[in-house]
């Protein structure tokens, strides 16, 4: 092979290598990021749980002997722990309305149900407005406090909240 032929081959190889380098360096198509769980911190960090439904307020405060209500009456441990475990595992299924004109259509808005979780120092860890079940009953509408977007959250959250109500110290008010 002549020197000219060798040079041509080297040039061709370099072109091909350059092409590969350019095309392969392009970022791979990214899968949509999985939404964060509703409770993004370890459940052990939660020291206070409050569920407000109209006039009714259920409070669970973590103490040395487990969970108790605002009056110091002990909670059965399981329903509070189960609720926190569910919040730590549940991720929004969908954003059903990024900016609803009438949040009341989803059971959200002033006077609606609220679920608030706080750390031992009072720092809010999660604040959710809770709306109605969706028509198929598979989930319920919710939105994070201070945000407009309405989320659909798995119906297991409604089940855990019902367990919490049933286990309230002093009976289900």
């Amino acid at each position: 092979m002549t020197g000219r032929g060798t040079a041509l081959l080297v040039a061709l190889l370099a072109t091909l290598a350059g092409y590969l380098w350019v095309t392969e360096r392009r970022p791979a198509p990214a899968f949509p990021a999985e939404p964060a769980p509703l409770l993004a911190v370890p459940t052990a960090a939660v020291a206070r749980v409050e569920l407000v439904e109209g006039e009714r307020r259920l409070t669970a405060v973590r103490g040395e002997r487990g969970w108790s209500d605002a009056a110091g009456r002990p909670w059965s441990q399981d329903p509070v722990s189960d609720l926190l475990a569910a919040l730590g595992a549940l991720r929004p299924l969908a954003t059903v309305d990024p900016d609803p004109a009438t949040p009341g259509d989803y059971g959200l808005g002033p006077g609606g149900r609220r679920l608030e979780l706080a750390a031992a120092d009072g720092r809010p860890l999660l604040a959710l407005e809770l709306g109605e079940r969706n028509p198929a009953w598979t989930g319920l509408y919710a939105r994070r406090a201070g945000e407009r977007a309405v989320l659909l959250v798995g119906g297991v959250l409604a089940w855990e909240l019902e367990k919490l109500r049933q286990a309230a110290p002093g009976g289900n008010p």
Binding site: D78, P79, D82, A86, A89, L90, R91, L93, A136, W137, T138, G139, V153, G154, G155, V156, L157, A158, W159, K163, Q166
Partner: protein, 424 residues
Amino acid sequence: MRLYLRLCAAILAAGALTAAADEQPWTLEASNWEKGKDLLPEPVVKRLQKGEYWFKVVSADPGKFHHNYSQAFWDATEKNAGKYDLDEKTCGLKDKATDKIPDFVFGLPFPAVDKADSKAGCKIAWNFNMAGAQGGGGGATFTLNGVDTGGQFRRIKAFIHTRGYQGRHFGPLKDNPESLSGEAIAGALEPVDVEGVSTLTKRYWNWDGQDAVWAYVPSTRRARRVNSASRSDPVAGLDIFADDLNCYGGKVEYYQWKLVGEQTILAPLLQPYPFGSKSVSPTRQLIDTPYMPAGYEVPNAKGAPWWIQQNLVFVPRPVWIVEGQSSDPYYNFGKVIMYFDKEMYRIYWKQVHNRAGEYFYTAMCGYHFVKNDETFSAVFPNLVVGVNDKTNRAALGGRYQSSFLEQSWDPSYFSLRTLTHMTD
């Protein structure tokens, strides 16, 4: 004084009349749905309110209902008190005397369940398992019907044959070389595109072994081992799952169980008291039961097309509410909520969430009891109405008119050879 006596008599008579009226069958329907709001799972109440479902409610005498199981069963249950415990790691049944899995169990292993016991959920599951096993084995030919709002869209006719080694009346079988708790062969008979597709399942009597499941497809003439987590896959694309048989079809050890409550619920039964059986051989007894037509089969039927129209009654029964969850990553269900009879240990309803926490499915599981005398009884799962609330479709399973109990199968029947030669 006479006036006082008359008054007392009148009050007593009124009370007796009221009690009698309470025991009269009544219909729970959309117009009086409030009476049923605490007697049914929430998604079912929603359909009751809309007039899609209604319920013929029948009272059952608690004492008589208790005797749907034989005296032999209840005597064994009483003797089991204090005999068994649970393996901490697996929730497997443990003989306290040996700290090992017991050789043979008959009756409820845990006659008294304390709701404050952290292991109560698993004990309930074991009672369920052993109550269902008392018949020993048998079979039936049944249908699976896919139904949507337009009517039936698919029908499959199939059979199932079972043999139980544990929990059966009359003691253990002589030969159990594979150390099984039970085994089953099931196969499709119709339509022709699925004819011959069949499965063989062997469930091992141990704490940590997975079921061995083989599936046979005639077109390939091969039996392939399949994952036992496939119990949570839809059967033939219908809204029904292998795990719907008895409302839970897995090994107790597959789930983590948690008792979360108790209530009264409407139990779907063909009739509140047992059917008799007739012997057709020294080891085989036949049971005839009426067909349960669904809305899609009855002209001008009311309600959802999949709702049972005749031959089903609902008996108010006290139940444990138990959550079950599998840790198997290949199992499709997330949290499952089940309603177990506190005395007869049947699951009447279950609500299923997927692994994302989304509720999607409720199954109603109906039964009938069989008893000839106090030495033998059995309870059959005869109906599953599985409703996918996400897609608003349903599937019906069971509804057979004839079933049988078999005490002595050919030892080699439940084998790969049978599986691969059924269509020969």
